[in-house]
């Protein structure tokens, strides 16, 4: 079930009404959330619901076993079992075909003959998100950070909690799980904030991301990039950077807002990353739940392992962590390269910290921030082009043709004719979209000190309501209601 669908709106209102009728009994509310979450997920594929249920049973049991065992070695074995099962399922559905086909290519490259027909595997939606969420539970128990729960229903609802099951935020058990064991109250101000966040999320998804998608799909989908103006290719890259942000942060806003209306506080997943002045800063603000997961459970242990390697103790963990973050997105070299480049850039930033500090002292702050922002955005757009491309060959072709065709101007391409289908894009849509994008970033800039982009409100209700209606009217007339899936559903 997509958030941007009529089905979800009906589902949400029904569950919301029943949920708060049970307000004096949080256990009954948990049962309702459990059933609603499986219904929500099962709407897409009921068969894969069993996979989540299996994952829940495994980690619930292993969590208890890890906690009860005194022997460190046995604890470690249980944790290893959790790793093997969770990564085994993830690896099978997400990476099996990739590894086999790459191995076959390598064998053929070495001069041997090997054939393989790839398995037609469907990637279960949200698998990368709930796998990492359940894993954090067993790791935290192993580390002694949390105690396991005896309440299987609460635990499995924590795993499949419908607002965030398909695309996060990837919650830590220490934050979300205890919320299932206390009475939830709906305060008016919190509910209002939840509604504001949902509205803002819909605006970003439907008015910005899906409108950008019209242009992006047209430009990236036209594979003969040598015929396309370099400026159009740059616009395509920038629009994809905006699309992916509006899409994913829009989803997070809706998820967090919906959870708030059920009395839950989810972690902030985006903190206005596009105002960052370095790649390191962007990653502190982009997809916070997963980047902090990798920081805590991979980067820190790696850093500890390499701690005697001098500068390498910083560089190796960074490059490894970000390459794996890239690979987390999917089984494609484009994602690996995307992560690898970020790892390298961040390593350069870490190693040049002192030098940059010296330079910073000599130049005005605004210049330093401006240059930093430009470089950061250049790297970001460059890498998201690779991220969006279907394969590395097309990614290289796209990037090469930006340079080769920089001064090639075909006016038809700019007015939605020629090689791009006139039915999808036109200059007016471009003007409307540009206005909406500027508006989005302006409003977010005003709210950059808050937890989401539309939080700031006036003391006058009429001003607030006018702003809400303006957003709804914009959505109604300029939104793309073609129910495009959220990009991160595929990861």
């Amino acid at each position: 079930m997509l958030f941007n669908s009529i089905e979800f709106i009906i589902f949400f209102h029904l569950i919301f009404a029943v949920y708060w009728l049970l307000k004096n009994n949080y256990k009954q509310q948990n049962v309702l959330l459990f059933l609603a979450s499986y219904f929500f997920y099962g709407w897409w594929s009921w068969k894969f619901s069993f996979l989540i249920f299996f994952s829940s049973i495994v980690d619930y049991t292993l969590g208890l076993l890890i906690y009860k065992t005194e022997d460190r070695k046995i604890k470690k074995r249980y944790l290893l079992v959790s790793f093997l099962i969770n990564f085994g399922i993830l690896g099978f559905f997400k990476y099996f075909n990739f590894f086999i086909s790459e191995a076959i290519s390598l064998i053929n490259l070495l001069g041997f003959q090997a054939n393989y027909t790839s398995l037609s595997l469907i990637l279960p939606i949200g698998i990368s998100f709930y796998t990492f969420q359940t894993l954090s539970y067993t790791i935290d128990i192993y580390k002694g950070h949390i105690k396991p729960t005896n309440d299987f229903l609460a635990f499995s609802t924590f795993v499949c909690f419908f607002p965030q099951i398909v695309a996060g935020p990837v919650e830590r058990a220490s934050n979300l799980l205890p919320q299932f064991f206390r009475e939830r109250h709906l305060k008016y101000e919190e509910a209002k904030e939840g509604c504001q966040q949902i509205l803002w999320g819909f605006f970003k998804k439907i008015a910005i991301a899906d409108s950008c998608a019209l242009f992006v799909n047209d430009i990236f989908g036209y594979h003969n990039y040598d015929e396309v103006s370099g400026i159009i290719l740059i616009i395509g890259g920038i629009l994809f950077a905006i699309q992916i942000y509006a899409d994913f942060s829009g989803y997070s806003d809706i998820a967090i807002g919906v959870a708030k209306l059920f009395g839950f506080q989810l972690m902030q997943n985006f903190n206005f990353p596009y105002y960052a002045t370095s790649t390191t800063e962007i990653w502190r603000k982009w997809h916070i739940s997963i980047s902090s997961w990798f920081r805590d459970y991979l980067n820190k242990p790696l850093f500890f392992y390499f701690r005697h390697w001098g500068n390498y103790s910083l560089v190796i963990p960074l490059i490894l962590t970000f390459t794996i973050i890239g690979f987390w997105h999917g089984a494609n070299w484009t994602f690996i390269v995307y992560g690898l480049i970020h790892g390298i850039v961040m390593s350069i930033e870490v190693l040049s910290k002192k030098t940059r500090k010296k330079i910073r002292k000599k130049i005005p702050k605004w210049l330093n921030s401006g240059v930093g922002w430009l470089i950061t955005m250049f790297v970001w757009v460059f890498t998201v082009i690779i991220f969006r491309a279907e394969n590395m060959t097309l990614a290289v072709s796209y990037l090469v043709n930006i340079v080769d065709n920089l001064f090639f101007i075909d006016i038809d391409q700019f007015v939605g004719r020629g090689i791009f289908t006139a039915v999808n894009i036109n200059p007016q849509k471009g003007v409307a979209l540009t206005t909406l994008i500027v508006l989005m970033f302006f409003i977010e800039w005003l709210n950059r000190k808050h937890t989401f982009g539309f939080k700031k409100s006036s003391n006058l209700a009429v001003v607030n309501w006018t702003a809400y209606y303006a957003l709804i009217i914009t959505l109604f007339f300029f939104g793309e209601f073609n129910q495009q899936e959220f990009i991160y559903f595929h990861f």
Partner: protein
């Protein structure tokens, strides 16, 4: 909770009224707005509105989207050529409304490729381009039993009259069924029915009806055996006179001349316009 629910309901009610007001205004004066900013089907409301006004000409042009590329509706009041997605009943209703408002009309030129002229009702775009825009009280008298039964398949069809439903961007329904948009490259039942109605309408009003073809890809010659089935159907239905000069007016272009297989590249527009003009003159003689 009570405060929340009451405010939420109040917010929704005011929002609904505001949207109804805005949609009503837009529906009343659709030509004030630039269609490019809106959803793709918004232009349908503009051509419907234009058909109800003075067109300042004795010739009315109707047609599919390729004809719309050649005779852009925003250029002249008498060009209502826009898209084949409005189907033959759509062309008929535009013509009927235009004739009512413009007794000076002496001829109607319908420019549609041999493929699009026969489009079936069951298409992906039918709901947004035909059902919602043309479902107006004043058009009900033009609905045949066959058409009404097809529309009635969609529940809540009576809501289609309201501007907010017409402009709602999230209520699209895919009306397509298996198969190509024009099975066997012939006239569909609905297309045939309304083409005959259009012919009668013109006859009753002493208006000359001319059919010309929009340019089409040359691969269709072999694919359709030079429109063998369509030609046979025309003969069987006794429509030879109506289709006189139609097949001769087809301008076949190479695959490279098309943007997406249907729509022609900008550079071929003038050439196609000249070709149509020539055939229009032949048809007039």
């Amino acid at each position: 909770m009570k405060r929340l629910i009451s405010k939420y309901l109040l917010f929704l009610s005011i929002g609904f009224l505001v949207l109804c007001g805005i949609c009503g205004g837009i529906m009343k004066y659709p030509n004030v707005f630039d269609a490019g900013y809106f959803n793709r089907w918004f232009s349908t409301y503009q051509v419907i509105s234009r058909s109800n006004h003075n067109i300042d000409s004795d010739t009315l042009y109707l047609g599919d989207s390729v004809a719309g590329q050649i005779y852009r509706p925003e250029e002249r009041k008498n060009y209502l050529a826009y898209t084949a997605a409005i189907l033959m009943p759509g062309y008929y209703m535009l013509a009927a409304n235009a004739i009512k408002s413009n007794p000076n009309i002496k001829s109607i030129v319908l420019i549609s490729g041999p493929l699009t002229i026969g489009y079936e009702f069951e298409q992906y775009t039918t709901y947004s381009y035909f059902i919602k825009p043309f479902y107006l009280k004043k058009n009900f008298l033009y609905f045949t039993k066959n058409l009404q039964s097809k529309i009635d398949q969609y529940t809540y069809s009576s809501f289609f009259q309201y501007p907010i439903v017409k402009l709602a961007p999230f209520s699209d329904i895919d009306c397509s069924k298996d198969g190509t948009p024009n099975n066997n490259y012939m006239l569909s039942d609905i297309s045939l029915e309304y083409l005959i109605k259009l012919q009668q309408l013109c006859k009753e009003n002493n208006i000359e009806l001319r059919l010309l073809s929009a340019p089409i890809m040359d691969t269709y010659i072999s694919k359709t055996n030079d429109w063998q089935h369509l030609r046979q159907q025309i003969k069987k239905e006794g429509l030879e006179n109506l289709f006189k000069g139609f097949f001769e007016s087809i301008k076949y272009l190479e695959e490279e001349s098309f943007i997406d297989g249907f729509h022609i590249e900008t550079k071929y527009i003038n050439e196609s316009k000249a070709h149509l003009k020539k055939h229009l003159q032949i048809a007039t003689k």
